[in-house]
């Protein structure tokens, strides 16, 4: 594994950013409670992305359900897919049950651990637990080994390093130096560090360099990891950005209901994802 030191590209919008993510890419995505690049996900659906593999860090929600329903995804590796209080993720559930979607089931700490191994450039990460779980029997990239530093018998599970092609998430700010601010959502830093490329949409662009601000600097993913950024105001909607806008629970409930059938899901795409639908844009404004 050898990864580049980036010079961040400034892209025009979420659609330009989605165009830079190739079909077939292994894309790491955060869960609904973190900073999800929903506008870029909608742009991936608009451009008809195909054969993506998704990694849930450590689980997935609305973004995965949209991409799966729109036929963009061949396989997902995740600890879970759920819409939280809004219930099961309907397109994921249907695709997994029909066999159309391959699911590589994981458990949260081994997703984090595999990415942390990639961050360090080492081949695997050990973890306690997991022995006796059927997950282990279906994961050729997880093994049980003897603790090499113990004289006593001490089996321990190791998970192979996870190296995504693309980290994709949303940020409160980007700056002109190419840094992005993610605050306490440090799982985003982990995926940025572990991935070959990293694309970030942002709420607002700040002048200058956030590294010069002692209060902002600890919440940064610095530009060395960032391949490209694009503006997307309210780009996490209907998910939230802390202190800027909350999760739109009513919209999530609407989605969960609409997406129960393929026809309802298609109508949802027409109303909220595909371009040039004046009525849909009106609805969307109403939902905001």
């Amino acid at each position: 594994m050898s990864l580049p030191a980036n010079e961040t590209r400034f892209l025009q919008d979420a659609d330009a950013l989605a165009a830079a993510i190739p079909d077939g890419a292994f894309v790491a995505l955060p869960p609904d409670y973190s900073l999800v690049a929903m506008e870029a996900v909608r742009a991936l659906v608009r451009r008809g992305a195909r054969n993506l593999r998704l990694l849930g860090v450590p689980q997935l929600g609305l973004c995965a359900d949209l991409l799966i329903g729109a036929g963009c995804v061949d396989e997902i590796e995740t600890s879970a897919v759920s819409l939280g209080e809004a219930g099961l993720a309907p397109r994921f559930t249907a695709a997994a049950q029909s066999g159309a979607l391959k699911v590589k089931d994981a458990t949260c700490p081994l997703v984090h651990g595999g990415l942390q191994a990639a961050e360090k450039g080492v081949p695997f990460m050990p973890s306690r637990g997991v022995i006796g779980s059927d997950l282990l029997r279906h994961r050729s990239d997880w093994r049980t080994i003897q603790n090499p530093l113990s004289q006593a018998a001490d089996p321990i599970v190791v998970a192979r390093a996870i190296e995504p092609d693309v980290a994709l998430f949303h940020a409160r700010w980007a700056d002109r130096a190419g840094n992005v601010w993610i605050g306490r959502r440090r799982e985003l830093a982990t995926i940025a560090h572990a991935s070959r490329s990293c694309y970030v949409t942002y709420e607002e662009l700040r002048d200058g360099d956030m590294l010069e601000d002692e209060l902002l600097a600890p919440g940064l993913v610095t530009s060395v990891y960032v391949t490209g950024v694009a503006p997307a105001p309210r780009g996490a909607w209907p998910l939230g950005v802390i202190d800027v806008y909350p999760i739109d629970d009513a919209h999530l409930a609407h989605y969960a209901k609409a997406a129960r059938t393929p026809a309802g899901f298609e109508r949802y795409l027409d109303d909220f994802v595909r371009p040039g639908r004046a009525a849909g844009l009106g609805d969307r404004a109403a939902h905001r």
Partner: protein, 242 residues
Amino acid sequence: MTSYAPEELLASAIARLIGDAAHVAVGAASPIPASACELLRAQSGGRPRLSLMHQRKANPYTEGARELFDLAGQGRVDVFFLGGAQIDGAANINLVGTGAYPDVQARFPGSFGSAFMYFAAKRTILFREEHSRRVLVPQVDFVSAPGSSAPGIWRRGGPQALVTGKAVFSWQREKRRFRLESVHPGCSAAEVRENTGFDYDWTEIVPETTPPSAAELDLLRGPIAARIALNYPDFARRVWFR
């Protein structure tokens, strides 16, 4: 007699099971365990510490979601909660699906952190509102996380109890079997037997689960409802703001 919602009974029963603890962590969508922990905190001046993974404002984790697992790995989490689309009499849980995996019949969200947390947290309270033979099965179709481990396998903790919409079971670690501790008001031991797919120990006279007191209900409906609404708005609306 004061009337109460089933969710309020469950929260007060779970609060008693948590008992003395320094740190309780709550994972994915678990408003009733979160309410139980808030009830204890309101009764005892802020103990135990509560870490809610999905907390929207002032989330307790500053190292990302992995911090929960790191804390548990170190032994800093006393009590955790797990559910199960299926739970069996050996306290194994299945959060993945029914049928012969990977060709699942019904697909559920997935294992979340269960395969680790069930080992690392000092105590795990299993919680599932639906009490039926569909959920409480002789043997799970897929083991997301095992209820016990062979000697020589590292394991700090395991199941403490199973709470359902009908009853409370304790887990007997040595016997590797559940024991029926109480049935909720309005439900009978025979009804529990009828709706449970696995064997468990029981006594001739099974006590009734203590209902929430008037003081507990005041707390649940006042400050706790307001706090829970911040992170579980649908639940709070359904139970308290009808």
